[in-house]
């Protein structure tokens, strides 16, 4: 029992130090938000008019859930970069030489990521409200949507940890993260209805976790959701979101933990 208590206490200390970074390097959060706002403006005002929604509805309401998911997916890169930074600066070595719970470095890190992204999500929602995005369903559904998004964030954080522990430098973490996550968020229904994609890409987009999350969020927030096609993920976005998130966690959590243990060389 005291072991568990120590693990939690150590995890909180690590979360604290990771969150301290946010006000100390405000540029990190500011640019993450500005990047998302740039996507909002680009799609809402530049491409939006050219993208008709099957079944009608406001493109801006359609867009915002896609932006939420995209931003939270990109957060994995931030995680990867700061883990890689801790590795190269020797901080991970210092932690490993201390009589602390071994799990705390990763559990504290990923927990901090959830708190951080709650903040990011809040700012994005305010931005969305300003350009005409609305929550049209009940409060309960809204919170279910938010919980789903944060659960997804948690899985992305573990992907980020795994990536950060696997690369030799901070720059590589940045590049690899961008190279993987950027196309994944675009090969989805986040910005355009999947029906508008070439036939070859449609199944890929439909089975993309980002699409499931976006579709589920649209459904729970009561935003236009033309994703509903006759494919299985299209018909069950909420179920598929849970399945995807659990699967990603089941893959990347053990991988990251194994990678961390393997630092022993």
């Amino acid at each position: 029992m005291s072991r568990l208590r120590n693990a939690v206490a150590d995890g909180i200390v690590i979360s604290w130090r990771n969150l301290k970074r946010v006000p100390r390097i405000p540029e990190l959060a500011i640019f993450a938000i500005l990047q998302s706002i740039m996507f909002v403006l680009l799609f809402a005002f530049v491409f939006g008019g050219a993208i008709p929604l099957p079944g009608g509805g406001s493109y801006r309401e359609f867009l915002m859930p896609g932006i939420f998911v995209q931003t939270l997916a990109f957060a994995a890169i931030t995680t990867a970069v700061s883990i890689a930074d801790d590795m190269t600066k020797g901080l991970i070595d210092r932690f490993r030489s201390l009589p602390m719970a071994r799990s705390a470095v990763l559990s504290g890190r990923t927990f901090a990521d959830i708190l951080y992204n709650i903040g990011i999500l809040a700012v994005l929602m305010v931005t969305g409200l300003a350009i005409g995005w609305r929550v049209n369903d009940g409060v309960l559904d809204f919170f279910a949507g938010v919980v789903l998004l944060l659960f997804f964030t948690y899985a992305m954080a573990w992907i980020g940890v795994f990536l950060g522990l696997s690369v030799p430098t901070v720059e590589v973490a940045q590049q690899v993260g961008f190279l993987v996550i950027f196309p994944v968020t675009f090969l989805s229904n986040a910005f355009v209805p999947t029906e508008t994609l070439p036939a070859v890409l449609q199944p890929i987009a439909e089975w993309n976790p980002v699409s499931s999350l976006t579709g589920a969020t649209r459904e729970l927030f009561g935003n236009p959701n033309p994703f509903i096609s006759d494919s299985f993920p299209g018909l069950h976005p909420i179920l598929m979101s849970v399945v995807w998130t659990v699967t990603l966690l089941a893959i990347f959590m053990p991988l990251a933990i194994r990678k961390y243990r393997a630092i022993d060389g």
Binding site: K89, G90, D93
Partner: protein, 330 residues
Amino acid sequence: MAMIETEGLVKVYHSRGSEVRALDGLDLEVREGTVLGLLGPNGAGKTTTVRILATLLRADAGRATIAGLDVARDAQAVRRLIGLSGQYAAIDENLTGRENLWMFGRLYQIGSAAAKRRATELLVQFDLENAGDRVAKTYSGGMRRRLDLAAALIGRPTLLFLDEPTTGLDPRSRLGMWDVIRGQVRAGTTVLLTTQYLEEADALADEIAVVDAGKIIARGTADELKTQVGGERIEIVVHDRDLLHRAAQVAAPDGSATVDEHTRRLTVTAEGGAQQLVDVVLRLGEAQIRVDDVGLRRPTLDDVFLALTGHAAERPATDDETTTARKKGR
């Protein structure tokens, strides 16, 4: 009682198909309350030894204990006893000095209030009290090293590892660092210090172990090693190449001077220190031999290596231990 005991430690790094034997049967014993200086060039195995003893790295073969605890099996118990301060100041740049110390104190399982008190204590002791509430990013190199060392001491360790504590520091910061380390030694901490500088091992260590190619090749007090090496040296650069051999005869009538024709340099071992230098200079003056340069020089790591191994300290860059360790471990 032995604080550190190792037996036949072996560590092999594999990188891109090639094998580097960083440790090749290293035996070491450090008694409680003493300072051992691990002296050797880059790639000799110093950092690997420290990383194994500090539970960061597993040895491929051999055994290592700290205060009787096996570093591999009882790692967590070992961590309660040790403090580690490395070559790369491992502090969180985005936290203040005080926050860094508090955090490491908490992770050392010290209560929050006690960790705060201890942090303040260390900031004062390490002359960082004015900078304590500034973000560590703004610290100078010397301040970072001091904070790093303070972080290593937060849990009052019985054994302190100092991995090249002054590499890259300017001379003034180096002397400051030495003072701080000496204070710690006076307080009774056992210290394992790695260094590339004979001078540093001499200044801080009770005993020196010379490492080469993953093995201890010599061990003794600084004086014992220096006797082996032949103490200080007088170096003379003779102006006129034709007079070089006569000058050698004058400077060391017993014929013990070594002559380097190319640089017109004579080296004479100087057991008699400064007085011998004065005598030599006077004799050269009487013989009317013009000199361009003359000086007394302490033996360097190179001299030690030359005397002990017959080869110079520099080894090819292919087996640079620190690069391998970083790739593997960081």
